[in-house]
C-alpha cells in the first residue's frame, strides 16, 4: 500500500501557527513545514529549535583558546622578539588579533556546520512540495513514516480547512 501525506497550503503565518496548534492538540503528526521566512513559533511548537547558536558559542570559545595559544607560541616560545620596549607576553597586543580571528573562525565554522547539518551544498535542488513556499505560501505536510490511517487523514483535513487552509492535496510517496 502506498503511503500518503497531506499537503496544506496557507496564505499567512498566523493561520499556519493556529493550524499546527490544533493538529498537535489532536495528536496528528506534523511532518514538516515550509515558510518563506522564519516563523519562530513553528520551530518552538515542533521542537525543532536550532542548536546552531550553541555551536557558535562553543566555536567562539574554542577560537579564543586556539588563537591565544597560537599567539603565545609564536610570540613568546618559538620566536621571541622584543619590540617597542614591550614584554614578550604583551597581552593587549594579542587582544585585537584574538578578537578578529575569533569572529572569522566562528563564522566560517558555523557556516560549514550549518551547510553540513542541513544538507545544503551548491547546486542542490530545492525540496519544496509547492512552488509558492519560497514566495508567499505557507505549507504544512501531515504524515508519518508508517503512513496515516484514513480516519486520521479525514480528521486532519477537517482541522486544516477549519483553520484557513486555502488548498489541501494528498501526495503519494
Amino acid at each position: 500500500m502506498k503511503q500518503k501525506d497531506l499537503i496544506a497550503v496557507f496564505d499567512n503565518d498566523r493561520d499556519l501557527v493556529k493550524a499546527i496548534g490544533t493538529l498537535k492538540e489532536n495528536n496528528i503528526p506534523v511532518k514538516d513545514v515550509w515558510t518563506p521566512f522564519p516563523v519562530h513559533d513553528v520551530l518552538k511548537m515542533l521542537g525543532r529549535e536550532s542548536r546552531l547558536p550553541y555551536f557558535s558559542v562553543a566555536a567562539g570559545v574554542g577560537a579564543v583558546i586556539v588563537t591565544f595559544a597560537f599567539l603565545y607560541y609564536t610570540a613568546v616560545i618559538d620566536y621571541p622578539i622584543r619590540y617597542g620596549g614591550k614584554p614578550y607576553f604583551a597581552f593587549p597586543s594579542f587582544v585585537v588579533i584574538i578578537f578578529l580571528l575569533t569572529i572569522l573562525l566562528t563564522f566560517i565554522s558555523t557556516v560549514i556546520v550549518f551547510q553540513v547539518r542541513t544538507g545544503l551544498f551548491p547546486g542542490k535542488e530545492a525540496e519544496v512540495p509547492v512552488t509558492g513556499t519560497t514566495d508567499d505560501k505557507f505549507v504544512i505536510s501531515v504524515g508519518s513514516k508508517e503512513g496515516l490511517a484514513d480516519e486520521i487523514i479525514t480528521e486532519a483535513q477537517v482541522i486544516l480547512s477549519a483553520n484557513g487552509a486555502v488548498e489541501i492535496t494528498e501526495q503519494e510517496r
Binding site: H40, V57, G84, G85, P92, S93, V95, V96
Partner: protein, 386 residues
C-alpha cells in the same frame, strides 16, 4: 487600560526625601570642602544629563529607522529629557566652580605651563561659558520641539506631525553627536588638560545611549508592575536586552581601543593618564569599570532565553547604572580631587540628583497620556512579536 500616569504618593515622597538629602549634602559640602562638592556636582549633573540626552537619542534612532516595536514607550524618553533644563541651571552654578575643578582655569597657569598656554585659545573661561550655554540652548530647543511634535501628533489626525518628529529626530542625531562630543571634551576630558583622546567623544555618546537604555528598562518594568504599559511582553524585553548586549560590546570595544592605542604608542604625553589610573588606589575601580560594563552584561545577556527574563534584566540594568557612576568617577576624580573617597557628599548629592531627576521625570510623564493612541506604529508596538 490605564492610559494616563498618576504619580503615586509614596514615590513622590521618596523623591522629595532624596532631594532633601541632596540639599543637605550639598550645603555641608559647600561649607566644608568646596572643590570636592563642585566635583561631585559636575559628576552627578553629567551623569543625569547623559542619561536624559541618551534617552532622546535612543528614541530618535527609532524614529529615523521607522522602528515600530518601541513606540508605546515613547513618552518615557521624552519625560526623561525634562531633566535637561535643570542641568542647565546646575551648569550655571558650576560656572562658579570652574577654577576649583579644571587645572587650565587656574589663574596664571598659562605662564608656567606651556601646553596649557598652547591650548588656551580653546580652553579659556569665557569661551568655556559660551560653549556650554550654546550646547544647552541647542539641546533645550530640540527637546521642546520634539516633545511638542509628539504631543501634537497625538491630538491631530494624519501623519504630518509624525513626519515632523522624524525630521526633528534626524536633526537631533546630527546635533547631538557633535554637541555631546564637545560637551564631553569640555567638561570631562579637559579635567586632565594635558591629556587628549580623540575617541573620547564617541565613548561619551555610546555611554549615554547604553545607560539610558538600562534606565529605560528599569522604568518600563516598574511602570508595568504599577499597572501601566500592560502590553509589555517578553519580546519587548528581549529587544531592550539586545540593545544592552550590543552596546556592551561597543562599550568594551571603545574602552579597549582607547587603552590599546595609548599603550601601544607609549608616548608619555598620553600614557600618564592610564599609569595614574591603573595604580593604587584606583586599580580596583579601573578594572571594575570594564568588568561591570562589558563582561557581566556580555555573558548574562548572550542567551535570548535569559535576556528576556525580568529577574536578569533588572539586576543587570541596576549594575550598569552603578557601572556608569564608576566609569565617570574614574574619569573625573583622579584629575580633580585626586583622592578616592565616596563619603556623604558624593553619595548624598547623587541621591539628591536622583530625586530631582525622579520628580521632573514623573511630573512630565503624568502630563500626557502614556498610551500614544495616534502613533502610526502603536498597533505594531502593542502586538510586538518576534
Amino acid at each position: 487600560m490605564r492610559e494616563t500616569f498618576t504619580i503615586p504618593q509614596r514615590v513622590r515622597l521618596l523623591a522629595l526625601i532624596l532631594t532633601g538629602i541632596g540639599i543637605i549634602a550639598l550645603i555641608t559640602g559647600f561649607v566644608t570642602d568646596q572643590s570636592r562638592t563642585f566635583t561631585s556636582l559636575l559628576l552627578n549633573n553629567y551623569y543625569f544629563l547623559s542619561l536624559s540626552l541618551g534617552a532622546v537619542f535612543f528614541f530618535s534612532l527609532h524614529h529615523v529607522t521607522d522602528a515600530g516595536w518601541s513606540s508605546m514607550f515613547k513618552r518615557i524618553p521624552e519625560s526623561m529629557a525634562s531633566y535637561v533644563p535643570f542641568a542647565f541651571i546646575v551648569m550655571l552654578v558650576l560656572f562658579a566652580g570652574v577654577r576649583d575643578i579644571y587645572e587650565w582655569a587656574e589663574p596664571g597657569i598659562t605662564e608656567t605651563d606651556a601646553l596649557i598656554a598652547h591650548k588656551s585659545p580653546y580652553l579659556n573661561i569665557p569661551f568655556f561659558y559660551i560653549r556650554a550655554i550654546l550646547l544647552f540652548c541647542a539641546w533645550i530647543v530640540l527637546i521642546i520641539l520634539i516633545r511638542r511634535a509628539s504631543l501634537r501628533g497625538d491630538i491631530e489626525e494624519g501623519l504630518a506631525w509624525h513626519e515632523k518628529s522624524k525630521h526633528l529626530s534626524m536633526v537631533y542625531i546630527f546635533v547631538f553627536s557633535i554637541t555631546f562630543t564637545v560637551a564631553s571634551f569640555d567638561w570631562i576630558m579637559s579635567i586632565d588638560s594635558h591629556w587628549f583622546s580623540t575617541l573620547f567623544g564617541i565613548r561619551a555618546i555610546v555611554s549615554s545611549l547604553y545607560y539610558a537604555v538600562a534606565l529605560l528598562v528599569i522604568i518600563v518594568i516598574l511602570l508595568n508592575k504599577a499597572g501601566y504599559l500592560e502590553a509589555l511582553n517578553k519580546y519587548h524585553l528581549n529587544d531592550f536586552a539586545r540593545y544592552l548586549f550590543r552596546l556592551s560590546i561597543v562599550f568594551g570595544y571603545l574602552w579597549f581601543m582607547q587603552y590599546l592605542i595609548i599603550w601601544y604608542a607609549n608616548i608619555p604625553e598620553t600614557t600618564f593618564y592610564y599609569v595614574y589610573r591603573v595604580n593604587e588606589p584606583w586599580t580596583l575601580l579601573f578594572y571594575a569599570e570594564l568588568v561591570i560594563n562589558w563582561t557581566i552584561p556580555f555573558i548574562l545577556l548572550m542567551s535570548d532565553d535569559l535576556a528576556r527574563k525580568k529577574a536578569v534584566l533588572i539586576p543587570v540594568s541596576i549594575l550598569l547604572l552603578a557601572g556608569f557612576y564608576i566609569s565617570l568617577y574614574i574619569q573625573i576624580m583622579p584629575g580633580t580631587t585626586g583622592v578616592l573617597r565616596i563619603g556623604f557628599i558624593e553619595a548624598g548629592s547623587f541621591l539628591g540628583f536622583a530625586g530631582v531627576f525622579m520628580l521632573l521625570f514623573l511630573r512630565t510623564l503624568s502630563k500626557a497620556p502614556l498610551y500614544v493612541k495616534k502613533d502610526p506604529f502603536i498597533q505594531e508596538s502593542v502586538s510586538h512579536h518576534l
